[in-house]
């Protein structure tokens, strides 16, 4: 008899949970058909994929130069740039900024790098409130869970489960199952928090070296609130997120959004190029950019693995993976689940912890077929 590993145990648990299976199937079917509808034309799609893969490959080929250029241009724009080799260093840098402002409340937009850092847990241990403001992340935080998908963190829950969670957490709010009403309740609670938070934290989708611009793609407007309402904004991202030119952004944004949700454009697209300037009436007084390595330069040096750093975190590989669709994101036990997580996480966190993940693939190639930046080549 083979001994069942933790991973296999979690898989079995998910497979035996019909609710989880239904939730994922339903959600993944929706995301797949939306992507298909928005990328129907093969020539256009393949042309865009080739272009985006080339943009990302070029950025990685020139990574050290571009990072220096990014630092120079950000600094010139008044953005303070920090480098962190490890997640411990990264957490420490955030904490120092928070402490430097005697801040007690931080509000966050969606950021997978902050998940990688375990930032919420770390800051809470230091007595600092760390509140998620993306609706999905907020739900996951209320439930004491972790994201199960990189763009739709609470996709493992259906609306009844969310309603039930709100009833438990907010007994004063009348019970409701209507998603819009639930979102309204969350918005009301979060608005207040935005006004109180001393620090806003966000991720970064693309950092443009040529101009020192931080690009943030989102749908809820909470990202814009996080980066404009509190007096201090901290952007955290991995060093691989840099691209060379501003002109690289339109194709990347276009394909990212269509691959991720099948939208033609996201509801919000933020380009952050400096703190509030003289005479401006809003925006943070201070902007920090934290660039995290955490194993990325090691992956970058490996000729076989470097392509995995092209990833623009669209989630399409998860949406189309027949294994992910059945076991869900939590079974992987890693920050990033699904096909790209199975390749990247063992590199970052070690084979001892995640060496089994790559075997959870039938090699069916559904991920490669949809990846906007053609991973694998």
């Amino acid at each position: 008899m083979q001994v069942t590993s933790d991973f296999q145990g979690r898989c079995r648990e998910a497979l035996n949970d019909p609710q989880i299976r239904r939730n994922f199937r339903f959600a993944m079917d929706g995301l797949m058909s939306k992507r298909r509808a928005s990328l129907g034309d093969e020539d256009e799609r393949e042309g865009l994929r080739a272009r985006c893969a080339a943009i990302r490959a070029n950025a990685l080929a020139r990574l050290p130069d571009l990072l220096e250029q990014l630092e120079r241009n950000c600094t010139e724009n008044g953005i303070r740039v920090h480098w962190a080799e490890t997640v411990q260093e990264a957490n420490r840098i955030v904490l120092d900024i928070v402490r430097g402002h005697h801040a007690r409340r931080l509000i966050k937009g969606k950021s997978m790098v902050s998940e990688e850092m375990g930032l919420n847990h770390f800051l809470e241990g230091q007595g600092i409130e760390c509140l998620e403001s993306d609706l999905g992340e907020y739900i996951v935080q209320l439930a004491g869970e972790t994201p199960s998908h990189i763009i739709a963190p609470a996709i493992h829950k259906n609306r009844q489960e969310v309603a039930e969670l709100f009833r438990r957490k907010f007994p004063d709010i009348p019970f409701q199952e209507d998603p819009e009403a639930l979102a309204r309740s969350a918005r009301r609670i979060l608005r207040e928090k935005f006004e109180q938070a001393e620090i806003g934290l966000s991720g970064v989708n693309f950092a443009v070296a040529e101009t020192g611009t931080l690009c943030l793609v989102e749908n809820e407007g909470n990202g814009r609130m996080c980066t404009t309402v509190p007096p201090v904004h901290i952007a955290v991202t991995g060093i691989e997120k840099v691209v060379e030119r501003l002109g690289d952004i339109p194709p990347l944004l276009d394909l990212l959004v269509r691959s991720a949700t099948g939208q033609h454009i996201s509801t919000y697209f933020n380009m952050i190029s400096s703190p509030r300037r003289e005479g401006e009436r809003d925006g943070p007084r201070e902007v920090h950019l934290l660039l995290l390595d955490n194993g990325r330069s090691r992956i970058h040096r490996d000729a076989q693995l470097i392509d995995t750093l092209r990833c623009i975190r669209c989630g399409a590989c998860m949406n189309h993976c027949p294994v992910y669709g059945r076991i869900g994101g939590h079974a992987y036990g890693s920050t990033i689940p699904g096909p790209i997580g199975s390749v990247v996480e063992p590199q970052k966190e070690g084979l001892a912890r995640f060496g089994e993940l790559p075997t959870a693939s039938t090699l069916c190639g559904a991920c490669a077929e949809v990846c906007p930046v053609r991973i694998p080549r």
Binding site: P322, I327, A360, T362, L363
Partner: protein, 255 residues
């Protein structure tokens, strides 16, 4: 990718690479494939030293072991004939992955040359032999499962469908989620039997829901997996390799 592939003129002779699973489980499919080729006037050479394409070791990351297995094929298929393979998965291994497998080894050039001569069976029938089939069988409905390596690796899903489409009395029925993997995946089924079973159960159920009596596939791994599950579910659906199916429907038997 197949779209850019340049196909040769019809050759006098071809090599046939039988594959392990055809040899072990579906030998009649290998024979049927060779009959189809011969009927088109092509001589078929079946080198007896042939073994396995090396895919199990390659997929599991054991490159040196995979090379050891693959070397036998470099030797057996040394002459300049096209190599026809009745499997998207083994054809894909040889056509798409041998160049990478032998990169920076003394056999690199030989492996590249061999890879360029490898054709999946339906691809060869359609593009090189431009085969025209005449259906002699009774009316029937079948479901087709195109393997992931045939569909996404070799890019020959349309060739599978096109050949069945040439059969006048056969209605090709599309199960739901036909593009989705059946959950076999070689060592995947052994390492993650729970997930694999879940996948194939759904695949089998969706095929059974179409009400067909026959399932056809160009890959024996999927066939074994899905037909096994169908049998388990008591559906009575028969699974056959596409070569057997095409040959039986178009072959005037003397009986």
């Amino acid at each position: 990718m197949k779209q850019d592939r340049h196909y040769p003129e019809r050759p006098d002779k071809v090599y046939f690479f039988g594959t392990c699973l055809v040899d072990l489980l579906y030998p009649e499919a290998g024979i049927a494939a060779m009959e189809l080729l011969r009927r088109e006037g092509v001589g078929v050479i079946f080198p007896h030293g042939q073994t396995c394409c090396g895919q199990p070791a390659w997929n599991a990351g054991y490159r040196e072991q995979a090379r050891q297995v693959a070397r036998a094929q470099l030797r057996c298929f040394a002459r300049d004939y096209p190599i026809v393979v009745p499997s998207g998965s083994c054809a894909g291994m040889m056509h798409l992955h041998y160049p990478e497998l032998f990169r920076d080894t003394p056999e690199q050039a030989q492996a590249e040359a061999l890879a360029a001569r490898v054709y999946e069976l339906t691809e060869f029938l359609v593009h090189v032999l431009k085969i025209r089939l005449t259906d002699l069988g009774p009316p029937t409905r079948v479901a087709l499962h195109t393997s992931c390596s045939a569909r996404r690796g070799m890019g020959v899903a349309a060739e599978h469908e096109g050949l069945i489409g040439q059969l006048g009395n056969v209605e090709l029925v599309e199960p739901q989620r036909k593009e989705e993997c059946c959950g076999f995946g070689g060592t995947f089924a052994l390492k993650h039997p729970d997930i694999s079973t879940e996948m194939v159960s759904e695949k089998a159920r969706l095929i059974a829901e179409t009400g067909v009596r026959e399932l056809v596939s160009g890959d024996c791994g999927c066939l074994m997996n899905i037909a096994g599950r169908l049998g388990h579910q008591g559906s009575g659906i028969r699974g056959r390799h596409i070569a057997s199916f095409l040959w039986e429907r178009t072959h005037a038997s003397d009986e």
